[in-house]
Amino acid sequence: MSHFNAALLERAQELIALYPDPRSALIPLCHLAQEQDGWLRPEAMSEIGELVGVTAAEVQGTATFYDMLHTEPVGTYVVSVCTNIACLLGGAAELLEHAEASLGVRAGSSTPDGVFTLEESECLADCDRTPCVQVNHRYVGGQTPDTFDRLITDLRAGTLADTIPSHGTLVRVRRTVGLEADRDQVASERSAMAAAQQVRAQAAAKSGDGA
């Protein structure tokens, strides 16, 4: 029984097919799991491991390296407030303090109702609109304490559902092309590539430098 729902499992298999090595799909599949569950459940990591051919521990070991992959539950909305240099100069420390007071949680934790997780983030590359805030990694522009409170009210009321979807950085990313290639041709190109690799490996072994 798959932990991924049928639609996501199909997308997972499409993503795996894009790469010469299935393991390359590990991070994209973690994004899919978060789209379904909000975070990386142990069951999801096991299944991702099976799909790409590594152990669940390797999936977890990789996932914990990356800020966007959550191995513990997070709120419906992850609110990231950048406090790096450009935003610091634009009043980010004050905004983060306000956000903590307004949501009643410290950065790095979630509201008791599970709606919001507040994060202090590093540079989000939107430095002409400071302090920069993302909600579920959608830019919401530079924020003041007042606009921040309105943003939180709107998110609670559900009026921003169109612009800020729930979790998953790939939730609106669909590759609609390129997978219909002639399978025989793909197979022959792959074997030609493998042969070329072998030739290079032999040449490298012969020259003895291992490069």
Binding site: I27, F65, I85, A125, L170
Partner: protein, 434 residues
Amino acid sequence: MAITDAPKIVTRRLEYDDSHTLERYLATGGYEGLRKALSMTPEAVAAEVDAASLLGRGGAGFPAGRKWSMLRKNPVTYLVINGDESEPATFKDHLLIEGDPHQIIEGVMISAYALQVTQAFIYLRGEFALGLERLQTALNEAYAHGAVGRDIFGSGFSLDVVVHPGAGAYICGEETALLESLEGKRGFPRIKPPFFPAVTGLYGEPTVVNNVETMANIPWIITNGGAAFAALGEGRSTGTRLFALAGKVRNPGTYELEMVKTTFRDLIYAPVLGGGISGGNELKAFIPGGVSAPWFGPDQVDLPLGQDEVGSAGSMLGSGSVVVMDSSTCMVRAAWRITKFFSRESCGQCTPCREGSGWLERIMYRIENGAGREEDLDLLMDLCDNISPGVAWPPQQTTICVLGPSIPSSIASGIRMFRDEFLVHIKDGGCPFD
């Protein structure tokens, strides 16, 4: 020095609301460069880029043509585009990815043809959710248009392009860490040698890694010729470049300017560019090329925006991000925040970087918050020296990648330029700007 009337090479479509669509791209000369390239030999295309003397726009500034020529000696397997823009206060690739994704795709197609690769990956940082949508949509359109995929424009050349999302890690902008991440692993930079992915890259195969902005320049170079590009700028710094201006200026933003012909003063003060210091304050210092770069003071504001010019003045043009700090800025706090960033983003492989960044951050924190000690300044410089012996520029390296030697830049600049301000924090037991 002045703002020149150099053509806008990579930002010319951004004035349109629909600049990201295929329709607008085709209406403004889109994919003409690719058609022209496909009518040339791959060698002639590469020679055109070589003639442009295009320096890589990612941060290291390595000549793109030379990177390619290393690969032409070997059969090359993969082209990988670095769109992991994470250097603090750098937001130029973000603009190109969301604003003109087809231009990047066309650059990738032309480059892949010159290198004769059949598989390309575009690695975007995971936080660019909209950028991922725009780029994948553009790629879908480009496939349907016949500009990507099999038998491109009937030329017989085929290329598959995959848009790959990262998941939040600054270190993945380092090209070997990026390749590890693309292989589904932690973003640990690889041990050198081999120094270049051209030798051992993705899946152990010869690979070229180029930045997004570098790719965006390629269609114009092929359409207008490498010589036209090389005629812009001066010396080794040819063409135009995107400068991301942030901090205490009236008009922060990304500006495309002719290299060398324009100065930091133009960028910060010209009414059509930065518009001067916000709030009518005085310029105190600025970072010329991302937070890894040593800081400059007001006396260096007339330096031209050129790679070698900034390099010989003791810093770097790096990622093209300029951060302006004014008389209201606490330099201890600024240096502390940058150090905190490096401490958080160190991948943890090398001891000087992993331990050193944490120690530096904690000492900076206590100075900013009133618990500093007189001997702390010497201690900071001593720790910096352990990470990068001599604390000089260009920096010595004790670590696998350049994140380590980037850490001392802000602390050493802060202490060398604003020692009194550090001492006031220690003597008064707190931050005078609070």
